[in-house]
């Protein structure tokens, strides 16, 4: 991807599309991620250690970027939820797929987030991104004042604005569609997670069965005893094989479609937040207009200024939003396709391997005297 070098100091010095989260280290309660990015000029890499605090720091700086008109129209790449080392039930529910598999899926999700930020035309110019990816000192270990964070949580109080009728058909349709999609996607993601968790339970049950079979092996020269012992040992191997198959199936599910649905779900939420910000701006604008109309001559000029500012901001937001939505739509289809194709390919491979394996055991049993 070609970076537009507009202002030398704000261009990102690393590529965005191949950032990697290569490792995750557990230290007591904290998880530390190792992030590797490739230099744009010449060869060479940056290796940095970052915790979730650093990620939050980055997010806050993205939200509070000042020189970007219409920033509120951006669909911010969704960051994964905070990882808990000793995960509670509620935490597990929040993390969903990202809480599984020894944090490997989480690393993937974090990687995706960083790639999206570093590739986003408006966001990547933020110096915070450069610092996050390249500075040897972790930037986020002190708490920074909240900016849009507060704004967002305040906005939650104003949920009634969510239903405010739009002036633009396109955006109204978008909001309606988004409402449906967020619900459906969240539901599908949760159901799929249930499937994966049950698959894991089956794998464990197969393991127990396999172990119990080993207990049935008896020593002795009695030919019948020996025959039965042989059967138990062989069956135990079959159960182990079934266990591995189930675990593969679950892993495939998580790594492809699971991550895909999870990302789609979080992205839909991000779009929802953007659309809401725009709607709030719309309400603000309409309020400003009414105030300007009703204003007494003394206040009128000031009110007109306020109104013009609001109009301008709203226009910027809407413009950016339209671009963002178009980008979002094409990206999400691509991402889901990748997820579905990858999922199907991996499951197909696993099924073929398992079919072969089981068939070999079948032949072995048939041949057993």
């Amino acid at each position: 991807m070609m970076e537009e070098v507009q202002d030398v100091t704000s261009a990102l010095s690393v590529h965005g599309h191949n950032i990697k989260v290569t490792d995750v280290l557990k230290d007591g309660d904290t998880l530390t991620f190792v992030i590797v990015s490739q230099k744009v000029s010449g060869t060479g890499e940056y290796h940095v250690d970052r915790t979730y605090d650093d990620v939050e720091w980055l997010q806050q700086h993205l939200f509070s970027q000042e020189d970007v008109p219409g920033l509120h129209g951006v669909i911010f790449p969704p960051v994964p939820a905070k990882p808990q080392v000793n995960v509670t039930a509620k935490g597990m529910k929040q993390l969903g797929f990202l809480g599984l598999g020894e944090w490997q899926p989480y690393c993937k999700a974090l990687e995706t987030f960083l790639r999206q930020v570093a590739s986003h035309d408006l966001l990547k110019k933020n110096k915070a991104v450069e610092i996050f990816l390249t500075s040897s000192d972790p930037p986020g270990r002190q708490r920074v004042k909240k900016n849009i964070f507060n704004w967002l949580s305040q906005a939650m109080d104003e949920m009634r604005k969510e239903g405010h009728k739009d002036v633009d058909e396109f955006f109204q349709a978008q909001r309606d569609q988004n409402l449906v999609m967020t619900g459906c996607t969240k539901n599908a993601t949760e159901r799929f997670l249930e499937v994966v968790l049950t698959e894991q339970k089956i794998a464990v049950a197969c393991g127990h069965f396999s172990a119990a079979l080993h207990l049935c092996v008896e020593a002795g020269e009695d030919p019948v005893k020996q025959a039965f012992s042989r059967i138990c040992v062989k069956l135990s191997e079959v159960l182990e094989s079934m266990k591995k198959n189930m675990m593969s199936v679950a892993e495939n599910n998580v790594n492809t479609l699971g991550l895909g649905l999870d990302l789609e779900s979080r992205y839909q939420e991000a779009e929802k937040e953007m659309l809401f910000r725009r709607t709030c701006k719309l309400v603000e604008l309409e309020t400003a207009r009414r105030s300007a109309e009703k204003a007494k001559p003394v206040k009128k000029a000031a009110m007109e200024e306020v109104k013009k500012a609001a109009e301008s901001e709203f226009d910027h937001i809407s413009r950016v939003a339209k671009q963002e939505i178009a980008q979002f739509e094409s990206e999400r289809v691509q991402m889901l396709q990748q997820a579905l194709v990858g999922w199907c390919e991996q499951q197909l491979l696993t099924a073929k391997e398992s079919a072969d394996q089981f068939d070999r055991y079948l032949q072995a049993f048939r041949g057993m005297a």
Partner: protein, 507 residues
């Protein structure tokens, strides 16, 4: 086949011999129906064998029978548990089986061991060629008097049956009745009689009440399968398959209904055997086991029991999770369908709908696999846990047989001592009486010894047969299971291969 020619004579001649011989037990039980007071675990199996001497094994009958659950006719007056209700119906069939001479009343135990030896020797080449299917469950009647009738179809080239293929209708209590007869005839002489399937009040009540839902259908299927396995195991036994009750059960279109329908379930039998075993232990039968084989085998079966129960628990867990997976997969399929419907992008929408269909099909595979897990493994293990109970019962009977023999011996000793004393008194009558008694007892002791040797011999043979069958059984089931696994994976492959182009076609 020359079965027919050889079948009747041994039994006929045996009866003639026994009726003449001195070693008839003095009290052939005329009444098969024993009141609860004298029915103990021991008596149940030795219905017509010298009854009252076993009163030491008396237990509180209510204790024993309270646990026998009832299936049908909760209004039935009899609370007794009976193993052999009345004379063997084989005596009064409508179309008498031509090949078997029916035994006289009260001589059920007179199938002497030697006749069985001959039957078994015939079987040397193991020409077992019989197939029994239990099918077409059909509800008969209404409300709490309703019951399920099953079609029992036998296919066999064996000439002891009139036709090569025939069907009858039977209900669950008929199966229990058959088992109770077989148990009363064969258990006490060392034959491992396969236990009948479990009763279930809850399951049957649902069926009676007319609940046509999945769980009652599952219950009926589970029962049907269990009945089929039960019959197959019974006829695989070389001696049992020739039993007139078995043959009548399979062939006769009119089977007299078991009078006391509260027949023992195998669970009830298990409890009773355990209680009897406890009673035996309390009596501390210190059997001088001269045969290490028996000690070793008993230990072996104890171990096997424990192991199989563990396996059974593991499989139950697997079945449970598999069913859960099926439910979750179905729910995911629905959610994917909804997602597909809401999706604007046409190609993605289609792919998501296809995904929903694939998941539905996979759900069906999970259900099929869960059934395989259950009907193959879980039921196999359950069957063997129950079979081992029967095996343990047979070992217990051997101990009791030994005890009986020892008791007779001790009594004989006492009588001899008493006779010796009488020699010095001038009481010729009493002396003669004593001598007569001694003569009787002596015969009894000898019979006791013969019984003990015979049961020991029978058990050895039975255990050997059982063990071989066990290996064969497990192997057969495992092969079926693996076939199901392979098939499932191959189906999956087909589904994924069909979905892949759809996924690729999204953009």
């Amino acid at each position: 086949m020359s079965d027919r020619a050889r079948d009747p004579p041994p039994e006929r001649t045996d009866f003639e011999e026994l009726e003449d011989a001195d070693d008839l037990f003095p009290e052939p039980a005329a009444t098969e129906e024993s009141g609860p007071a004298s029915l103990t675990a021991e008596d149940i199996s030795t219905n017509s064998n010298g009854p009252k001497q076993d009163s030491q094994f008396d237990e509180d009958p209510e204790d024993l029978f309270a646990e026998a659950t009832e299936e049908v006719s909760l209004d039935s007056p009899e609370r007794d548990v009976l193993l052999s209700d009345g004379p063997s119906p084989a005596i009064t069939p409508i179309t008498p089986p031509t090949s078997v001479i029916t035994p006289c009343l009260g001589h059920d135990d007179m199938f002497t061991h030697s006749s069985f030896d001959e039957i078994e020797e015939e079987e040397g080449g193991d020409l077992f060629d019989m197939h029994i299917a239990v099918s077409d469950p059909e509800k008969v009647g209404d409300g709490m008097n309703a019951y399920m009738a099953y079609k029992v179809t036998t296919k066999t080239p064996m000439s002891m049956f009139k036709r090569g293929e025939f069907s009858v209708k039977r209900r669950f209590s008929d199966f229990l009745g058959l088992h109770s007869k077989l148990a009363s005839k064969y258990l006490h002489i060392g034959y491992i009689v396969p236990p009948a399937p479990e009763k279930s009040i809850v399951g049957m009540t649902k069926v009676k009440v007319g609940k046509e839902d999945q769980s009652s259908n599952e219950f009926v299927e589970k029962r049907r399968s269990a009945l089929e396995r039960y019959l197959m195991r019974t006829v695989k036994h070389p001696v049992l398959r020739k039993d007139p009750d078995v043959m009548q059960f399979l062939e006769s279109s009119d089977l007299p209904r078991a009078v006391n329908t509260q027949a023992l379930s195998s669970a009830g039998l298990l409890r009773m055997v355990n209680k009897a075993a406890d009673a035996v232990n309390k009596m501390t039968i210190k059997m001088n086991e001269s045969d290490a084989w028996f000690e070793e085998k008993q230990q072996h079966f104890e171990n096997l029991d424990v192991q199989l129960r563990k396996l059974h628990a593991s499989v139950e867990s697997l079945v449970c999770h598999r069913k859960e997976l099926s439910v979750n997969t179905a729910q995911f399929a629905k959610s994917a369908a909804m997602l597909g419907n809401s999706e604007d992008h046409t190609a993605l929408s289609r792919a998501l709908s296809q995904l929903a269909e694939v998941e539905e099909k996979i759900d069906q595979l999970h259900q099929d696999q869960a059934n395989a897990d259950f009907y193959l493994f879980s039921e196999l293990l359950g069957d063997y846990v129950r079979l081992i109970t029967a095996v343990k019962g047979v070992f217990d009977h051997r101990m009791k047989t030994w005890q009986k023999w020892q008791d007779s011996q001790m009594l004989l000793q006492k009588k001899r001592e008493a006779e010796a004393k009488l020699q010095f008194t001038n009481k010729p009558d009493k002396l003669q009486q004593a001598k007569d008694e001694i003569k009787e007892l002596d015969a009894k002791v000898q019979q006791g010894e013969r019984d003990f040797e015979q049961i020991s011999k029978t058990i050895r043979k039975e255990v050997s047969r059982f063990e071989k069958e066990r290996v064969k059984d497990f192997k057969t089931i495992i092969i079926k299971y693996l076939e199901s696994l392979v098939q499932t994976q191959q189906q999956m492959i087909k589904y994924w291969e069909a979905f892949l182009p759809e996924a690729r076609a999204i953009s």
